[in-house]
Symmetry: C2
Subunit: 214 residues, 2 copies
Amino acid sequence: MTESRRKFRREGEAQRQGDLIAAALDLIAEGGPQAATVRAIADRAGVTPGLIRHYFHRKEDLIAAAYSAFAEQMTADHRTMLEGAGPDPLARLSRYVDRALRPPLTDPRQVALWAGFLHLVQSDPEMRAVHRTAYSAFREELRLLIEAAFAAEGRTADAARLRVEATACNALIDGLWLEGLVLSEEFTEAELARLGVAKIGALLDLPLERYLEE
Amino acid sequence: MTESRRKFRREGEAQRQGDLIAAALDLIAEGGPQAATVRAIADRAGVTPGLIRHYFHRKEDLIAAAYSAFAEQMTADHRTMLEGAGPDPLARLSRYVDRALRPPLTDPRQVALWAGFLHLVQSDPEMRAVHRTAYSAFREELRLLIEAAFAAEGRTADAARLRVEATACNALIDGLWLEGLVLSEEFTEAELARLGVAKIGALLDLPLERYLEE
DNA sequence: CGGATAATTCTGCAAGCGTATAATTGTCGG
DNA sequence: CCGACAATTATACGCTTGCAGAATTATCCG
């Protein structure tokens, strides 16, 4: 008799927002921003479209929140990269490069998300700010690692030199990260990471390979 | 009296297809695939939407043609990079890297297009084939340049070694290309190119800097 | 100069989009 | 166990989208 209305469970705000953000990120990673429609996001999150507007004023707000979550996840991944690493500067640098070229960071999904957000980041000033903050954190961390490694070898470098070295290293890591997407069938993840450590060593003239674990 | 109908000029098939493709690329570069609607493309090309269907069966076909044009333009740009270069292998390699890190290849538009097409390329097998062809051409050219440069220095390298070196060099170039987008305010184009040549030299242990022009 | 032809415009449609709001219903405190 | 209230669903609206086909008109050829 009663037209059956869909059953549901009430969830907290944090939970539902998280689900919706996760759903949006999934869809953007799979099919780009165009795939992340209100209906598709709601469907993936297991709710009805109207709920999105209950938690986010406009769809654009949800997408912005999703980008923030993406950036935060990446910085969090970076932060754990040096966990449990010893004090030896060269070992730390080696480990950093190694970790940067393994999952989860080399997951094709990450590249897909990065590409999917590119235009949004460029057009929206607020998202652009989030991007710049996250990005310069990576560069700064790498710069410090390089500076410490140089110091451990008794080498000194002024700020300009360090900036150049960090830029080149960052570029090589990013490039290999990109390459990983294209060459995923040709290189195993261990190979990619090993290659990265070796080549960063060559770039900086540091014996990093010696510090490769296992 | 007569309801004024829009005036138009008849153009050849090649001309109109080219206009439509150019319009689509413009829009994708500016706002991603979502910005390239049938109406927006027609508007930018100075025609009415119906005409698109006269030249392309579906919108998807136009987008695929646009991607092919993009890939072709990039390979054409690469081909001209070594034009007028002398026979000296190290000079050729140096020039190649230098040119790869200057406009037109470092135009932010190129990165935006690359990102915009990423999802389409991954989902459509035909576009994926176009991508692989273009991409492996770049890698092969770089591999040959490296092999020749090694030979000129009296060094030999087996195929596996060359593949690794080419991958690393390609990654560094791609990474700097990407970096150029983010750091365009921080680095002049000449700086980026010079940095690239120096660091490729460090990667391969070749004195490339000596061959920098002017 | 006139008629044929195909390039182009015009109009319309069904589906999907984001948004708005009213109607329900799960949940929790008393 | 019940009433209140917010979480959730349902429905609807206006706009845009890609696509289709009919109506025009520029151009070319005899």
